[in-house]
């Protein structure tokens, strides 16, 4: 049976089976995105702190998580944490792993965004009697959002693509279903090409959106 006959006979079955992986893929992507946004902001604020200890902690965090592969981080969490008495489920390991990893990247995006806002904005807010936290929340971050939106969209694309490694710790998402289908039918060509097409249907429009946001930001500046 050649490739085209396989596609004709089994293509629809492969497609519907792989589509069944989307909810899990999206759940991992969305949860770890939220996780990375929150932890990343904390790390970024520590990175910009006046005090040495939080600043050093943030620098080490960012360097370490950006300097090691996400797959190793996932393995430390999923296979290593039981050694210290905590057994995460595959889904928990996936969102904690990708979330902590993403936080290091998000922290740098936040930092660049916050630093792009003129210092006078912070000084003006403080002289109006705002606390530093309120000034950050109501004055700095809303303005920084404009600069940060294109890189955040790019980060979301990277994160969505990175969910394709979490099958290695047992999450049943698109790639895990693809591997199961290949074990079942041995038709790796058809299965992996369809799986690739499913990712492209989401990542290419998102990349176009990111490019458009970037152009708008440049026009606005």
């Amino acid at each position: 049976m050649n490739f085209f006959q396989v596609m004709e006979q089994k293509g629809w079955y492969f497609f519907t089976t792989l589509m069944g992986g989307w909810p899990e893929t999206l759940a991992v992507a969305v949860c770890s995105f939220v996780f990375a946004m929150v932890i990343g902001l904390v790390i970024a604020l520590m990175r910009l702190s006046r005090w040495r200890i939080p600043r050093w902690f943030a620098i080490s965090y960012i360097e370490f998580f950006r300097g090691t592969p996400a797959l190793v981080q996932l393995f430390v969490i999923y296979f290593g944490f039981p050694d210290i008495g905590f057994q995460p489920s595959p889904f928990q390991a996936a969102i904690v792993g990708l979330g902590l990893n993403g936080a290091a990247y998000m922290a740098e995006i936040y930092r660049a965004g916050i630093e792009s806002i003129h210092r006078g904005q912070m000084e003006a807010a403080l002289s109006l009697g705002m606390t530093p936290a309120r000034a950050m929340q109501h004055i700095i971050l809303p303005q920084a959002m404009r600069t940060m939106l294109p890189p955040i969209t790019n980060f979301a694309i990277v994160l969505l693509k990175d969910t394709s490694i979490v099958f290695a710790v047992g999450v049943v998402e698109i790639m895990a279903l693809a591997r199961n289908l290949v074990t079942e039918t041995l038709q790796s060509a058809a299965v992996y090409l369809i799986a690739g097409a499913l990712y492209l249907c989401v990542t290419i429009p998102m990349a176009r959106l990111a490019a458009r946001l970037e152009r708008q930001r440049q026009a606005w500046q």
Binding site: R66, G67, V72, F79, G80, D83, Y192, A195
Partner: protein
């Protein structure tokens, strides 16, 4: 409670030489796929800037698809799909190592093509016009005028890509290449010490990527184009 120092004192003399040996494979994968990515990436950057719409469209299509796919999917497609599409040919030369470097190389080519293009486009058009009015052919002006100047702009992002590539080699373990990550898995599960082994492997990856990221920081300060 896990006593990491004791575990390392007991096992490091067995683990470390083996892991370092397989780090060489990791570095070899990274070096070969970096080379492929630079050559193919430069080719696609030039195709992307072509005046012919068909050639340009082909380059854009390749770049968008290769950048839009997760690296794991690229590796699976490159390694498993061609032998099944053309079963009549002899595929014995197509080892998992070859699949890994071709997959990572093509993915990197798409990333680098965009880096090269933005470097070339960032140069003033006048540079090229001046070169051509001096009697250089377009190829000569590209080789002697544009690319040497563009190097300065593209070097930091290329080095950043190299860091990412080094980490991405860990994904080759998923198609069965015997590199650092794969060896770590077998040691971790044979000795029932996943935490100790994977933390050690993280440190080894960090030791390989950190000098590169220091180099990027140095270059970003040093090569910044002053205007």
């Amino acid at each position: 409670m896990l006593q990491l120092p004791e575990i390392y004192a007991e096992n490091l003399h067995r683990w470390l030489p083996e892991l370092l040996y397989y780090s060489l494979t990791t570095l070899k994968i990274a070096a070969v796929s970096f080379f492929i990515a630079v050559v193919v990436g430069l080719l696609f950057a030039l195709l992307r800037l072509s005046h012919n719409r068909l050639i340009r469209g082909f380059a854009v299509g390749f770049i968008e698809v290769a950048r839009g796919l997760p690296i794991v999917v690229v590796l699976y497609i490159v390694y498993f799909v061609p032998p099944q599409l053309f079963p009549g040919l002899n595929w014995s030369w197509f080892t998992d190592f070859t699949g890994a470097v071709v997959g990572l190389g093509l993915h990197g080519a798409a990333i680098l093509a965009e880096v090269f293009r933005s470097g070339i486009e960032a140069l003033h058009k006048g540079q090229r016009e001046a070169a051509i009015s001096l009697g250089m052919t377009p190829a000569q002006s590209m080789a002697y005028i544009i690319l040497p100047q563009a190097t300065r702009i593209i070097l930091p992002p290329v080095a950043n890509y190299a860091i990412g590539l080094l980490k991405d080699t860990s994904l080759c373990s998923l198609i069965g290449v015997n590199e650092l990550m794969n060896d770590a898995k077998s040691i971790a599960f044979a000795d029932y010490q996943p935490m100790a082994v994977f933390v050690l492997v993280a440190v080894i990856y960090f030791a390989m990527s950190f000098p590169l990221s220091m180099a990027v920081r140095y270059m970003e300060g040093r090569l910044a184009v002053s205007r």
